[in-house]
Symmetry: C2
Subunit: 332 residues, 2 copies
């Protein structure tokens, strides 16, 4: 009898103690973990580069121009504005939690953040610079020379180190502690009844098939328009532009739904401005479902619980150019 009580006590204790991880393990979405910079020097250098418009031909556009860390890591425009007010071809995805994506850009053409970071610098419709000129600018600035040496040792400045530093900063841009994550970690009071019902609908109607994992997306390519074609003027072909395979047409990387309340407008063409419309369209095009208004409202209420703690840090103070720094050419 005594041994049996010990046994019973052990079983009960184990299930009580393990209840929180057990809940988590059952859910298709996992909480976002806190992230502290691995290398403080590299983080600070990357932050400066991220905010430095001298990486553009005009001296006016920085990474933060289109992936604005005051605005959910996006620009809240349908498509971005680039050099000479060029209208971008596609909606700027958020940089927040982007390290969790299986690849970067909507079509996955960059394998990681480091590879991505070099793209806009040299894109004539974005920052319109070249990697060589960007490095020339940085090399002409004594404080940057010192900072690169502190982070990388000898060997000077090159685009590989520039993009590595930017990526090291971007990797820290995670948004833990959303109300949904609090719930995932066992705080049942973190969600209202409607938000929880919204999550149940989200889970049981098929949204989680693509929007899962810690980033609630970003882990696969999926066809935009499964049950019905997606109507758009945007010519982007998606993954096919990378693979050349016709079956990959309109296959796009599933966007993260973390902070989706902040990252409007939605879809690769940025055509949809409200979560209500986005949920409605996704239901019909991807799942063949028409959510009723109260279901739609609950899903939207759930989605707003995915807004996490935004990265906060001191704005960087950039080192001044020197007399030998190549000058910006905004109007050439």
């Amino acid at each position: 009898m005594f041994l049996f009580r010990i046994f019973l006590w052990s079983v009960l204790s184990f299930s009580l103690v393990s209840q929180v991880p057990w809940i988590q393990a059952q859910e298709p979405i996992q909480p976002i973990e806190e992230m502290t910079p691995k290398n403080r020097n590299l983080f600070e250098l990357g932050k400066m580069l991220y905010f430095d418009p001298r990486l553009s031909k005009s001296g006016f556009i920085s990474c933060n121009s289109c992936h604005n860390l005051s605005m959910g890591g996006s620009d809240n425009l349908q498509t971005s504005i680039g050099h000479n007010w060029t209208k971008g071809p596609i909606n700027a995805p958020t940089v927040l939690n982007s390290s969790m994506n299986l690849a970067q850009f909507w079509d996955g053409r960059a394998k990681d953040l480091k590879e991505q970071a070099g793209g806009p610098i040299a894109n004539p419709g974005e920052m319109a610079f070249t990697h060589e000129l960007a490095v020339d600018v940085l090399e002409s600035i004594p404080q940057y020379q010192t900072l690169f040496q502190q982070s990388f040792g000898e060997g000077g400045i090159n685009i590989d180190r520039v993009t590595e530093a930017i990526a090291a900063f971007e990797e820290t841009l995670v948004t833990p502690d959303s109300r949904f994550d609090q719930w995932l970690r066992g705080d049942e009071s973190a969600l209202t009844a409607d938000e929880l019902k919204g999550y149940q609908i989200f889970k049981h109607s098929g949204c989680v098939a693509c929007h899962n994992g810690p980033a609630v997306g970003g882990a696969s390519y999926q066809k935009m328009g499964v049950f019905e074609p997606y109507q758009t003027d945007n010519p982007a072909e998606g993954r096919a532009a990378v693979t050349g395979i016709d079956a990959d047409r309109f296959m796009f990387k599933v966007p993260t739904l973390r902070n989706v309340e902040l990252t409007y407008p939605y879809f690769h063409d940025g055509a949809v401005w409200t979560l209500e419309e986005a949920v409605d369209l996704m239901g019909r095009l991807q799942l063949g479902r028409s959510f009723k208004p109260h279901q739609n409202a609950r899903i939207v209420a759930f989605l707003k619980t995915l807004t996490g703690r935004q990265p906060t840090f001191q704005i960087p103070v950039l080192p001044p150019s020197s007399n030998s720094t190549p000058r910006p050419k905004p109007f050439q």
Copy 2:
């Protein structure tokens, strides 16, 4: 004898104690005082508005775009880039220490920071919005409604309150504790011998006639080109555009030299990129003097001691738009 010694001791003590204020009082430049926000709520609201591009038609340009607090409160461009990549008519003055200016803009057409803040929002070549539309945007955002109420009480959002909040933030953007200010406060080791010689030349050759006070400028209008006319393609007429008086042609507000190392390029047309050239031109055009190369180098060395502690604060996290927020129109 005893009384005499007491007397002598008092005199000596007094002169020792008062030496530092005495040095300061004799100098034509005064140290910048620390500034703490008078009203924390208003400061935080003003900071958000300063960084919010939704005050522009495009949703892309904020106060910080051209008065970039990572870059000495300026954009380091000859003239600024505005809506639709419009080339601005004049060099963007730094916002740092701008509360000390006798008036705002190069021609002094705004009497204070509050009046200034409304200008770029409605200027078709800058943010290209209207005050009414800017207020409509803010009113559509619940968190802004709350923040305005916390700062101003009832009465809602209007352009008067918007510009008051921005000005309240801008007033805090001072840069104390430069090496020159440390010297002014009595730390003789704060300047090198060359820097101190540079200051003596600056003082005794007449530069201080216009560049004086805590901001080392900003306190008067002066004619650009006294001994020789200033050669420029820039059509700005200066103060005459405000007063209509012909004698005010080419009279511009004397710019602050605080942080001048960071606020290149120089002059109202932004035509000069190096301090060496700026000092040379000022000597010849304003003072009828040709500084010798070693004099020029010493003045430049002195000017670089005017770089103060840059404002540092957490980047603001902006509240999301609502479904009813008017959408940005970058390409209309």
